[in-house]
């Protein structure tokens, strides 16, 4: 049994789209493999200590809450970059995803600082992009898998040239509604607009993150995790994917 240490950033502020569902999925799926997930909330007054956590999680918040934490997180950027350089995995969803870039420019020119961990920046748009979304991802060469989620964001996220998106948009808007790509991936760091929450209906990504976290813990390669009976997850994925496809046909 391994204890996987998760640092959950600002759980009191960034939790708008049921982020605790993602944590619950990581926790159960670790437990079903005989591992334990130890989740520590990291708030405004807590330090990020490189090496102390195998996986970080940043959720989404309302604009106001996001603003309340943005400066604080930017002040910890150095430690977070060091943690990730040391092999910690990270999942950031929606507002958390925006915070990982270089920053967010609002409608009236106001700027919110970012961490600069992912090669991207976000500009406010005039219309929210809302709805079911379906992606095709290839995190390892030749292994193509889909992610089904729900997006609801006004920000248009632009990746730098050469940056690796999380996936190709099969249906929905994605990063900016025009590039055809969604999210961003850099090593063990994944940022995405997809909530719903993301992991219950996309258990392969939960397992991928757990494997990366275990690799950080052991200092070795990501292990093969024992497969689970994921019938319900597959059904939920199929329904959500169907919603996204139906929308793109409209």
């Amino acid at each position: 049994m391994t204890t996987i240490r998760v640092g959950h950033l600002y759980p009191d502020y960034l939790n708008i789209y049921a982020d605790r569902g993602n944590i619950a999925v990581l926790s159960r799926r670790a437990a079903w493999r005989g591992h334990e997930l130890e989740v520590t909330g990291l708030g405004l007054d807590d330090e990020i200590v490189p090496g102390a956590h195998d996986l970080y999680y940043v959720g989404g918040g309302q604009d106001r809450e996001q603003l309340l934490v943005a400066e604080n997180l930017a002040g910890k950027a150095e430690q977070l970059r060091e943690a990730v350089a040391g092999g910690s995995a990270l999942l950031a969803v929606c507002g958390g995803y925006q915070l990982l870039g270089r920053g967010y420019k609002g409608f009236h020119g106001e700027e919110m600082p970012g961490v600069g961990l992912l090669p991207l920046e976000t500009l406010a748009g005039d219309r929210r992009m809302i709805g079911d979304v379906l992606l095709e991802c290839e995190l390892e060469p030749g292994v193509r898998r889909t992610l089904a989620g729900f997006e609801n964001h006004a920000g248009r996220t632009k990746l730098d040239p050469g940056a690796e998106p999380l996936g190709r948009v099969l249906a929905g808007f994605g990063n900016d509604g025009e590039s055809g790509f969604e999210g961003c991936r850099s090593g063990r760091v994944v940022g995405t607009y997809l909530h719903g929450p993301l992991l219950p209906r996309n258990p392969w990504l939960a397992d991928w993150l757990l494997a990366q976290a275990l690799a950080h813990r052991s200092g070795g390669e990501p292990p093969e995790l024992e497969p689970l009976e994921d019938g319900l997850e597959a059904q939920a994925h199929e329904v959500a994917a169907g919603r996204a496809r139906a929308r793109s046909r409209r």
Binding site: D12, G21, A24, L68, L232
Partner: protein, 458 residues
């Protein structure tokens, strides 16, 4: 510009459409005439409202607006002939339909959708405005709740001086909207014995609107509603003019409390369960009082009250009972769960999750609901509706054994499966989202067990 068609003719045309729509069997026809009128001549709504001799009052909230409006109607009915949108048609078109059908009504009592409130206030110019609560709800449809609050704040600032504002003082966001308004009435709860030990997971509006510091709560009742203050002194719960004290919750049966007002105190025995209904009743009392009702009228009206359609409904099905409790967002569903557990947790439950526009396309909210208190007593979950599998996952990852979960997407089949699992003399608990509730009511009506809502509302 006013069209050449006189108002009377528009009314006649729109009413004819309503009758046709009902004859054609297309549901209640509750908003079709209003949609027609709103399209023909939006200004007609203003003129229809202006015809009401006793004026109008509006009721808005994320949760409980239909029930609160129905309670206020019960209190005010002996005093006035009402134009009341009791079937829950609460957009601008629904308000228009209600005013159209009002005939000789004296007082408009209008439940209004959160998003539609600014336009309705502008057109209807009510005498009194009740703001009940703001919780996170259907983020895909309404946007973030701060946005709604800002639109409400702007709309309240535009209200004429004579309009009475009645707000839930336990909601910090609403209290901040009412803070500078002269004559605003705050209502709320005042009984630490029924408080939650801590803020719930899905609590919203936790941070001071001025400085962003977390509010300190002396007591938290439902979601972020409670007795709060900013540690830096910016905002605190206002003094309550109308308050509920000495609250007793009797499981799924009823709730009782002392209604404390400047005119005196009355013991209210409410034939409805749950703390959220104590909020609804206290709000309805404060609104009715602002409209001139006496304490005797308020107590009598609340005592007579029966549940608003479908929000909480008991129906006999042969030798079994059916209990329907609407769930639509984390705060409301948490209260439904708490009320169920207080009444003795059910062993079988049917939960119906749809994702139509009226339910919210985004189903992520189910992960913010604290369903866990149900798990200890639960032998079987029948998950149904368009997103049944997602709901099943919520319970699987909440710790329920997968073998105890049945996924039956068809709502009628799920109802029958639930009834099959219910012993004779027992009661089946069904928690549906809005459109799933409508589907269940159609099934129940088709089997001759209850009348359709548009007949009951008439």
């Amino acid at each position: 510009m006013r069209p050449a068609v006189p108002l009377a003719l528009e009314i006649a045309a729109a009413r004819a459409v309503a009758s046709l729509s009902r004859l054609a069997g297309r549901g209640g026809g509750t908003t079709i005439p209003g949609k027609l009128l709103a399209a023909l001549d939006p200004g007609a709504i203003d003129r229809l409202a202006a015809r009401l001799p006793a004026g109008a009052a509006t009721i808005s909230a994320t949760n409980g607006k239909t029930t609160t409006a129905a309670m206020a109607a019960e209190i005010l009915r002996p005093r006035h002939r009402l134009a009341h949108n009791s079937a829950g048609a609460n957009l601008v078109s629904g308000v228009a339909s209600t005013l159209l059908a009002a005939g000789r009504a004296e007082l408009g009592l209008l439940e209004v959708d959160e998003g539609a409130l600014p336009e309705v206030l502008r057109r209807v110019r009510p005498r009194a405005v009740l703001l009940g609560n703001l919780f996170r709800d259907q983020l895909d449809r309404y946007g973030e709740l701060e946005l709604i609050a800002e639109r409400w704040r702007a709309a309240v600032a535009e209200l004429p001086d004579g309009t009475r504002l009645v707000v839930n003082g336990d909601d910090p966001l609403l209290a901040s909207i009412a803070e500078t308004r002269i004559g605003a009435v705050a209502f709320g709860l005042d009984d630490p014995r029924v408080a939650r030990p801590s803020l719930q997971h899905a609590a919203d509006s936790k941070y001071c609107v001025v400085c962003g510091a977390p509010y300190e709560y002396a007591t938290a009742y439902v979601g972020h509603l409670g007795d709060y203050h900013c540690p830096n002194g910016h905002l605190a719960r206002p003094p309550l003019e109308v308050a509920a004290r000495e609250i007793e919750l009797h499981g799924l049966e009823r709730a009782a409390f002392d209604l404390v007002t400047p005119d005196g105190t009355r013991r209210i025995d409410l034939p409805l369960p749950g703390l959220y209904n104590v909020y609804n009743a206290t709000g309805a009392a404060a609104l009715a009082r602002a409209l001139g009702a006496s304490l005797d009228e308020i107590a009598a009206g609340l005592g007579r009250f029966g549940a608003a359609f479908g929000r909480f409904e008991r129906i006999a099905v042969g030798d079994k009972g059916l209990l329907l409790l609407l769930i639509k967002n984390p705060a409301g569903a948490n209260e439904a769960v708490r009320t169920l557990v207080d009444g003795g947790a059910p062993r079988t439950v049917v939960i119906a999750l749809n994702d139509e526009i009226a339910d919210g396309r985004d189903v992520s909210w189910i992960w913010d609901v604290d369903f866990e208190p149900l798990l200890a007593g639960l032998d079987r979950l029948v998950a149904t509706g368009g997103r049944a599998a997602e709901l099943a996952l919520r319970f699987r990852y909440g710790g329920m054994d997968e073998s105890a979960i049945e996924v039956v997407p068809d709502v009628e089949q799920a109802l029958d499966r639930g009834l099959e699992l219910t012993p004779p003399g027992g009661e089946l608990v069904v928690l549906p989202t809005y459109t799933a509730m409508l589907a269940l009511q159609r099934v129940v009506a088709a089997r001759g067990l209850a009348r359709p809502y548009w007949e009951r509302a008439a």
